[in-house]
Each structure stands twice: as C-alpha cells, then as structure tokens.
C-alpha cells in the first residue's frame, strides 16, 4: 500500500481518538452546568418528590460515568437520544428525538456555509495571489486595508450595515433570512444573500492575508530566484513556482474558516433570524436541554476534526517529499 494511505489512516484514527476525548469533555462540562433541569422545567413550586421522580424518568439520578457510557454507546449506534424539552409536570410527553430536531437546522447551516464557501474561498485565494503578484502596489495596499477593515468590525455590525445599505436604503435583498424546507433553490439563495455576504466579508480577510503571506514567504527561496533567471514572468513565478509549494498553509487556513462557518455563525444567524444549528444550540443551553447541547457540541467538534483532517491530507498530497518518498 502507498505510504500515504497509511499516513491518512493514522490521521483518521487520531481524529477518532480526539473525538472521543472531546465527547468526554463535552459530557463533563455539560454535567457541570449550574442549575437543574428538573427544577427549571417544573418551576419553583414543584415538590421535591416530583422533581426526584422527574429526574429518575430522565435517568439523571444515575452516576455521571454510567450516563456518559450510555450516551456514548447510543451515539456510536447513531442514536443521539431524545430531547428533554416537550415534557411537563403533568406527565404529557411531546418530546422529539434529537436527530429530528437537529437535522433540518444542520441542513440550513451547511447550506449557508456551503454557499459562502463557494464564494469566499476562490475569492480569497485569487485576491491573495494577486496581492502577492502586485505586492506593495496601491492594489495590494487597498485590498489589505479593505480586508483588514472588514475583519476588524464585529460581525453583527457588518450585518446591520449590510441590512441598512442593501435592504433598507436599496431594497435589493430581504433582511430576514427565513427559509423553509419547501422553498426552491433560487428563492433560498435570494433569502440567504445578506448572511452569506456578511460571512464572506468576515472570512475572506483571514484567508486572503494568509495566502498572500504564504506566497510571499516562498518568494525569498533560491528556487524562485532560479525561476526568474530562467526567464519566468512574475505571474508564472507566483502560479507555477510558488503556489504549488504553498497549498499546505492555505488549506489549513481555509479549513479553519470553513469550520468557523459551521460552528461560529450564531451571531449572524440571530441577526438574520436564520434557522441554523447555532441558534438551536444557544436555545438548548438556555432551556438546559442536555441531549441537544451534547449532540450539537459533538457535531461541531466533528466538523473541526474532519476539516482539519482534510487540510492535513491536502498538505500531504501536495508535498512531493511525502507523496513520492525516495
């Protein structure tokens, strides 16, 4: 087998171990959350007996270690458990499965993240390469200044400015990004235009600046001078001689920003009232809906691990030293 597969399998195994450790951390930190779900739902008036019975029904009376292994075992089988919400003191159980609650929200989040990524990643790389190509010109400086401005502003501020400009003053796009499952693709895209634009402004800066830095870092290499002395033009030097050696750092920063699009967008979701998984998680924390919080956190952790794994693999396959060992 090619050694690269062995490396990838090793990384994958390491990713699983990381996920396991993270799941334990998630579980214990959620267990440490102050307050009690039973009391929160049943209210101050509930008797101690009622609360105890309620806790027993949810399994909260068992030791934490046992609960962790029950939960982890179920997750391994694909069962994320049942939400705590929807139950009440009267004994009526309208609770839903966690998967059922998360899945539509996650689809929305992934859709917004995907659309943003399709715009932002190529844009950032092209801007980064052209800034490196025309470095220290007015073009480079203005791109740098603009992206630095957008990254320096809080995201809700960017969002509100865009709403003001593109929704209130010039009624081009809706300020509310409400979507529902029956919507056609074109309509969906129209609805999410402003949040996608906001997120693009926020993540392009980081990716673009790192791309530029990765390329410029390589321009001092002896093989770049050699390429010049072989008659290569500036654009050939950037695209043919520097870029192939810069994919690893670029992939790392892209992965970092894509992960942010999945796990860090709650503020933008709230501003545009977009039904994504970030909002769901915040709501669940407020209502102490432990199974949902745990499932969301696990999904977020998994996203980070998978994206970083992909970045690692890109780093390996674009490095001839690793791809073609001696």
């Amino acid at each position: 087998m090619h050694p690269i597969f062995i490396t990838i399998i090793k990384r994958l195994a390491l990713g699983l171990v990381t996920l396991f450790v993270v799941s334990a951390i998630i579980f214990s930190s959620v267990t440490l959350l102050p307050g009690d779900f039973g009391e929160a739902v049943l209210g101050q008036a509930a008797t101690e007996e009622t609360v105890a019975a309620f806790r027993e029904e949810l399994g909260l009376d068992k030791p934490a270690v046992l609960r962790y292994f029950e939960w982890a075992g179920a997750v391994l089988k694909g069962d994320l458990g049942t939400s705590f919400s929807g139950r009440s003191a009267s004994g009526v159980d309208r609770s839903r499965s966690v998967a059922e609650m998360i899945w539509p929200r996650l689809k929305n989040t992934l859709f917004l993240a995907g659309v943003t990524a399709l715009i932002a990643v190529p844009l950032a790389i092209i801007l980064g390469l052209s800034a490196a190509l025309y470095r220290n010109t007015w073009y480079d400086r203005s791109i740098n200044a603009t992206t630095l401005t957008t990254i320096s502003m809080p995201e809700f501020f960017v969002a509100y400015v865009l709403i003001l400009l593109l929704s209130s003053l010039w009624k081009a796009f809706p300020s509310l990004a409400t979507v529902d499952p029956g919507m056609l693709l074109g309509e969906r895209l129209y609805r999410i235009a402003l949040p996608a634009f906001t997120l693009t402004l926020i993540i392009v800066a980081h990716m673009m600046r790192m791309t530029r830095a990765a390329i410029i870092n390589l321009l001092a290499s002896p093989y770049i001078e050699m390429a010049r002395l072989k008659g290569a033009s500036r654009s050939e030097i950037i695209l043919k001689h520097a870029l192939p050696n810069a994919w690893a750092p670029i992939a790392t920063v892209v992965a970092f920003n894509l992960a942010y699009l999945v796990v860090g967008v709650v503020v933008v979701e709230v501003v545009f009232v977009y039904p994504g998984v970030g909002q769901l998680m915040v709501d669940s924390v407020t209502s102490r809906d432990i199974p949902v919080v745990q499932a969301c956190a696990l999904i977020f952790a998994g996203t980070y691990i998978i994206l970083n794994l992909i970045a690692d693999v890109i780093g390996i396959v674009t490095n001839p030293r690793l791809l073609h060992p001696r």
Binding site: P222, E225, G231, A232, N245
Partner: protein, 546 residues
C-alpha cells in the same frame, strides 16, 4: 552558436568574437539605511567559447558580478553605472520583459546549492526544459529527448528515467549535474556557474567538474566560473580574474596566473594551502570509541566504529557526506546513544545517554560546529555567550568572570571591544573564534570540531587553524577534527581516520595514511582532491579510464 540568427548585432568593440563586454560596472547594495558600493568599476570581457574563472573571498563581489553579467541584481541592490553588452546589446537598457527572453535561453545560470535551487514541487525533466519550452525553441517532446541526451552525456544514472524524479529523490551531485543539463537545454551562448561544486564531496566534485567541462566544450559555450577554490578554477578556466572588495586585483591566462601571480594579495591566496603541522605520535589515549554501532531509527549508520584519540593530539576524521563522521561526534557527546559499544574517557566508560552524564562529563568534551551562525543564540552578546560556560561549569561570577572572559578573548586574538556585540555584528571568522572561546571557557580535555572551517574563506581558515594549533600547544587540548577537506587535514592532524559508509577504512599517522599504498577508497578520496595544476583533472580522468 547563433550568430546567424542575429544578423543585426552590432559588435561593440569590433571583435567578431566578443560575446560579453561589461564596462565600468558599479553596483550598490542597501543595508543599514544607506547604499554601500559592492562592485566598484570592474570591466569584464569574454569571447565566445571562453571560460573565465572569477575568484576571491566571500564579500569580494564574485556572485554579484556573475549575476550582473545577466543584467540582474538581487533585491536590495542596484546598478549605478556601467554597461553590460551581451552580443552587442546593453542589457542594462532593456526592460525586464526583454531580459527575460534572454535568460534561460541565451544566458543560463547554475546556482551554488542545487538542492535549494530546484523547485521541490516539479519533476526534474519539466524544470530542465522549462526555458526551452517557454521560448518555444522546439517542441517539448524534442526538448525532453534532448534533455535525456544531456543527462546521458553528464553521466547521470538511468538518463531516460531520472527526469521523472523529484529533486528530493536524487543526490546532491546528481542534482548539480541535472542543473547543468537544465542550463544547457536551450543551448545558451553564456553560462554563469556560481560555485556549482562547493556543496559537494570531493569524490563527487571530480565527476561533476569533468561533466561540466566536457559539455561546455562540446557546445562551445562561454562561461563564467565563480569559486573560491583555486584548484577547481585551475581545472575549468582559460583565464582567471581575481576580485577583492569589489575591485579587480588582476587578470591573466590560467597558467600564467598560477605560476606567477603579480599581486601580493593573489600570492597570499596561493600560499594558504602550504600550512602543515609536523605529526606526533601519542600513546596516552584520552578518548576512545570502542566498536560503536549506532542507528537513526531503523537506519544503521555506524557499523562497529573504533577510533582512538591520543591526549594533546589531533585526530582528523575524513570521509564524504553520509560516511558517519558527524554521527560519530553525536555518539561521543551523548546526543545519540549507540546501540552497541562504549565511549571511554580516560579509560572509563561514559554513560551512553546525555541525560545520564554529570556536568563534569559535559565539561570535559566540548564541541565547535560548522555553522557558527546557528550555533550561537542571536540575542545574546559575546559576553553572555562566553560567560555562560564559566558560570555553569566553574561557578565563577562577578569580577572574576569578567577577568576570565577578557582572558579568553585575548586567547582567541580579539579584544574587549567585542563584549557587547551580538553574533550578527561579527564576521564569519570572528563568529567561529567566539565559538572556540566558548568551548575553551569550560577548560575541556577534548574539543570536537565538526567541519569548523568549511564555511570560511581560505585566508580566514588559515587563521582559525593556526589559532587551534596554538591553543593545543598551550593547553594540551586534544582535537577530534571532522572534515571533508584534505588540505585542512594536512594542516592540523597528527593522525587520520578515513571513514566510508559507516565504517573505518583505516586509522594511522598522517604520513602513513597520505602516502601509498592506500586501500581502494582512500586512494579514490585522495586522488579526487583538486590540485593547483591545470592539467590535473585531465590527467586524473585519463588515469582512471585506464
């Protein structure tokens, strides 16, 4: 030769044969917030098919002048005066885009470190034909076939397939030859060789030199050959130009230059190689490696190495890269615990691992490295660098420490004005002296010198070697001197150990090893050391084919 392709070329000096005519070149470099002159009015004329050797110490402006012949200056440098007439056109009056059409096709460059000058991301064949392909000289398929032919005439192994490899997959000597093929690919009129064999072992250097000379002659190209090694330039060049401080010292035909240099400076360059210490036999063994086997991971590097170092004497370990010289040093210092075997110090076995050694063990064996630059903390002053071992090993501080530092500086022939300097403010030779002082500060019995002079110019080398010899006489220090340079070995050693592929080929007194009869490998190694005779390479190649 493509005179026919350039019918409208006006010859600058009327001679039909002048290819390159550089006149009154002035180049400045920007540092410390101001412009400093690097080249101060040098003229250089080269005929078609002629090879000129440019020699001088580092900082003499050799590389800068070589690159200037292409109309190129590095970032932070600029031409202030002069003209570079290449085939009748002043390159300095051309725009970058126009110069690019000449670079790689009519003027080619061969860089010092092939390992760094090849792009790690592309296959060798694609890099070899890049310039020819860009200029659409011929179809790419034809260029590839031509490249295979060049690989073959440069005696590369498996010429048909070696181009499919990536730079990291072939050795340094092979890469340097591929780079020569790359320079030849578009059949340039002029090639600039910038110290192309400096990074190679002597045994490899011979082959590369021979291939380069052969192919340059075959295609009747002109070349500028930059080097600091006189013996190498004697083999390659028709004429030699000596540079110093950005100015020409003298220029003449190679044989004249070697036999009767006019200037005192040139003669001083010539004389460095004459340093030779009389050998002395030592019986009292201070340090001994006994049947050492060592490995990096699963790769076995040393196979039963036994080396004895007599007290107060110098043992030189010679061999090419990969022979295990530096690994032996790592075993002695405890950085690499051996798989089998012992290191004896004054007859007692030292703990194999550095972690288990006592400060006293560490004090007794000190080390000096090849790259003085990277062996010193760039943020520490000379005072801190030398003061540290005094405090660490001898627990001396305050006024006594200052006294001792001054004494050490005096020993290495520097004065107290250096105390507050940072490594970046020192020259290469001064840096190495500070490293020697740091080693001396511990009062060691043994100093391991790992290629300590190979990054230095010959005149500076001589100074360092003389200093080391003097310190040995004064303090009776024993040196284990790792080097690949036979001239250095002659200068400093009492005994010589020849290593090859992790084994000791032979150990003995200098006179025994350097004089015949030799084992086969020692013979190859010794015969590969270039001599100051212009016919040396030709004769050597002749004798090897027989």
């Amino acid at each position: 030769m493509s005179i026919d392709n350039e019918p409208n070329v006006a010859q600058s000096d009327g001679s039909q044969n002048t290819l390159l005519d550089m006149r009154n070149i002035h180049i400045e470099g920007f540092s410390d917030e101001q412009w400093h002159p690097i080249i101060k009015g040098v003229d250089l004329a080269l005929e078609r098919g002629q090879i000129m050797g440019l020699i001088g110490e580092s900082g003499a402006g050799k590389s800068t002048l070589g690159l200037a012949a292409m109309g190129f200056v590095r970032a932070g440098c600029r031409f202030t005066q002069g003209e570079v007439n290449f085939d009748g056109t002043d390159l300095l009056k051309l725009k970058d885009a126009q110069k690019r059409t000449l670079w790689g096709t009519r003027i080619a460059y061969v860089a010092q470190s092939a390992a760094a000058a090849f792009n790690p991301a592309h296959r060798l064949i694609d890099q070899t034909i890049e310039s020819a392909s860009r200029s659409q000289l011929r179809p790419d398929a034809e260029s590839r076939r031509d490249a295979v032919g060049l690989f073959e005439s440069l005696h590369l192994p498996d010429p048909a397939n070696i181009g499919q490899r990536y730079p990291h997959q072939v050795s340094g000597g092979q890469l340097q030859r591929v780079m020569t093929a790359m320079a030849m690919s578009a059949r340039p009129d002029l090639i600039i060789f910038d110290e192309p064999t400096t990074a190679l072992d002597v045994t490899t250097q011979v082959e590369v030199l021979a291939s380069m000379r052969e192919i340059v002659e075959q295609h009747n190209a002109a070349a500028i050959y930059i080097t600091h090694d006189l013996a190498v330039v004697a083999q390659m060049a028709d004429i030699i130009k000596v540079l110093r401080f950005g100015e020409e010292v003298e220029q003449s035909e190679t044989r004249t230059m070697l036999s009767s240099p006019k200037q005192a400076y040139t003669r001083s360059l010539w004389s460095v190689r004459s340093l030779e210490k009389p050998e002395e036999k030592g019986e009292d063994i201070v340090l001994s490696m006994q049947n050492i086997h060592a490995a990096y991971g699963r790769v076995q590097v040393l196979h039963g190495v036994t080396i004895n170092l007599p007290r107060g004497k110098t043992v030189a370990i010679v061999g090419e890269s990969g022979s295990g010289k530096s690994t032996a040093a790592r075993v002695i210092t405890g950085l690499l615990p051996p798989g089998k075997g012992d290191v004896l110090f004054n007859g007692e076995a030292l703990p194999a691992d550095l972690k288990d050694r006592k400060p006293e063990h560490l004090r007794q064996i000190q080390m000096i490295y090849q790259m003085a630059d990277t062996a010193m903390n760039p943020r520490q002053t000379v005072e801190q660098i030398i003061g540290r071992p005094i405090e660490l090993y001898h627990d001396i501080s305050g006024a006594k420490k200052a006294e001792r530092i001054a004494e050490l500086l005096n020993m290495i022939e520097l004065d107290e004005s250096f105390l507050d300097r940072l490594p970046a403010e020192l020259s290469g030779g001064q840096k190495q002296r500070i490293c020697i002082a740091r080693a001396l500060a511990a009062n060691p019995d043994v100093i391991i010198c790992d290629e300590v002079t190979s990054a230095l110019d010959q005149i500076v080398q001589e100074g360092i070697l003389k200093l080391l010899l003097r310190l040995q006489q004064e303090f009776g220090i024993s040196y284990l001197f790792i080097t690949h340079d036979i001239a250095t070995v002659k200068a400093i050693s009492d005994e010589i150990v020849v290593m090859y592929q992790g084994e000791v080929v032979e150990q003995g007194l200098k006179s025994e090893i350097l004089n015949p009869p030799h084992p086969e490998y020692t013979e190859l190694l010794l015969s590969s050391v270039p001599e100051m005779d212009p016919d040396w390479l030709t004769e050597l190649l002749g004798s090897r084919t027989n």
